[in-house]
């Protein structure tokens, strides 16, 4: 047996093993909890919010929506805990003064890392989502879908 034959055969093998088609992740992604704002008068009419911030319990700003109008929020609940508090601080102008109104949303949930495939690895999903909230400017928070496994769903409705 000649050396070039070995090399040729070995090269063929290496080429074969480097062009496998499971290198791309296409159909899966981690899931965000979608919070969608609705009107308190009519629970099925979307009602956007402007001039508000998301704060954590320490009062630090998670996300600021001062100059934007928001119809929905995609939220990541921390996966190393099973409960998360989020303050929605809304700014309203009363007689030329800015007034902040806070509502605290408490989420309880079970985070999950689900193995999908070699190329995708793990995606983030949640089960058993529930919510308790204060009601200052928000009138009600409704969990529509407690099993969070698709980004196409409206998981939580916030009525205000």
């Amino acid at each position: 047996m000649k050396l070039p034959t070995y090399i040729l055969a070995l090269a063929t093998l290496l080429i074969c093993s480097s062009c496998e088609k499971d290198d791309v992740c296409v159909e899966n992604d981690s899931v965000y909890v979608n919070l969608v704002f609705y009107s308190a008068e009519d629970g099925s009419t979307a009602k956007s919010v402007s001039g508000f911030s998301l704060l954590d319990l320490n009062g630090d700003i998670v996300q600021n929506y001062d100059n934007t109008t928001v119809t929905a929020i995609a939220l990541v609940l921390p996966t190393n805990q099973s409960s998360y508090d989020l303050i929605l601080q809304k700014r309203t102008e009363v007689d030329g003064l800015i007034v902040n109104t806070n509502d605290t949303l408490n989420f309880s949930y079970t985070p999950k890392a689900t193995y999908v495939s070699r190329a995708c690895g793990y995606i983030r999903t949640y089960t058993d989502l529930s919510n308790h909230s204060t009601s200052n400017w928000i009138s009600e928070v409704i969990v529509n879908i407690p099993e969070i496994n698709s980004n196409n769903d409206e998981h939580v409705a916030i009525l205000h």
């Binding site: 070995l10 899966n28 992604d29 995609a74 990541v76 193995y115 793990y122 983030r124």
Partner: protein
């Protein structure tokens, strides 16, 4: 006619035992980060040009999956394998020639442990924003007592070096028969089998090593 027939019979009357060590796994252990491997092999020529062949080895592979430099997850597989089967010489040797080409088949059992390292979430929106995937766990679970069995087709070559020493290798295509998979993970790499492709049962591997052959010739 008579002469050629008797030569043929004489050439087929060869018995012998071989033992060798896979050098490719030793070289790969040195060159490839995260890989260590060792394999010894042997065969027994028992009838005509048929051999009972065996390979015993141990392999460990510490690796990771990333997308464009962004780490997804890492894992380490360590375990042993035992390959047992038959080889047939498919190349008609010239008188006095000792090189050989063989085709063979093996049944392989492999047992191994997988320990998972970092687990990040595949999250396209997050990686676009922050340049890396969000972390779930710094040290994932360990799965002990995993196993796999597979069939292997083997094409082997051996070149006679000097006296009883041979240098040769083989290319192998494995076909997974059964496996015990870890919970919420996959067997992505199996000792002796090499990389496991999603949705496919085939795997490719090779060996290349030095062997000592002790012939026991019988003349009728």
């Amino acid at each position: 006619m008579m002469i050629s027939a008797s030569v043929s019979i004489y050439a087929q009357k060869e018995y012998g035992i071989r033992a060798g060590i896979d050098l490719s796994k030793l070289v790969r252990s040195e060159l490839q980060e995260g890989y260590t491997g060792f394999e010894i092999f042997g065969d027994l020529t028992f009838r005509n040009k048929t051999k009972i062949a065996v390979e015993i080895g141990s392999e460990s592979f510490d690796t990771k999956e990333s997308i464009d430099q962004s780490l997804l997850y890492s894992y380490k597989v360590s375990g042993e394998f035992l390959k047992l089967g038959l080889d047939w010489e498919i190349y008609q040797r010239k008188p006095g020639e000792k090189n050989q080409i063989t085709a063979g088949a093996r049944y392989v059992v492999s047992s191994f442990d997988t320990s998972q390292g970092i687990i990040n979430f595949y999250d396209t929106a997050w990686v676009e924003r922050y340049g890396e995937f969000p972390n779930y766990s710094v040290e994932g679970p360990t799965h002990n007592g995993l196993s796999a069995s597979y069939l292997e087709g083997v094409l082997g070559f051996k070149t006679h070096l000097t006296k009883q020493l041979y240098l040769g290798g083989s290319f192998r295509m494995g076909f997974l028969v059964s496996q015990k998979e870890p919970e919420n993970f996959d067997n992505l790499w199996i000792p002796g089998f090499n990389r496991v492709t999603d949705g496919a049962r085939f795997g490719f591997s090779y060996n290349y090593g030095l062997s000592y052959y002790l012939p026991v010739k019988k003349t009728r």
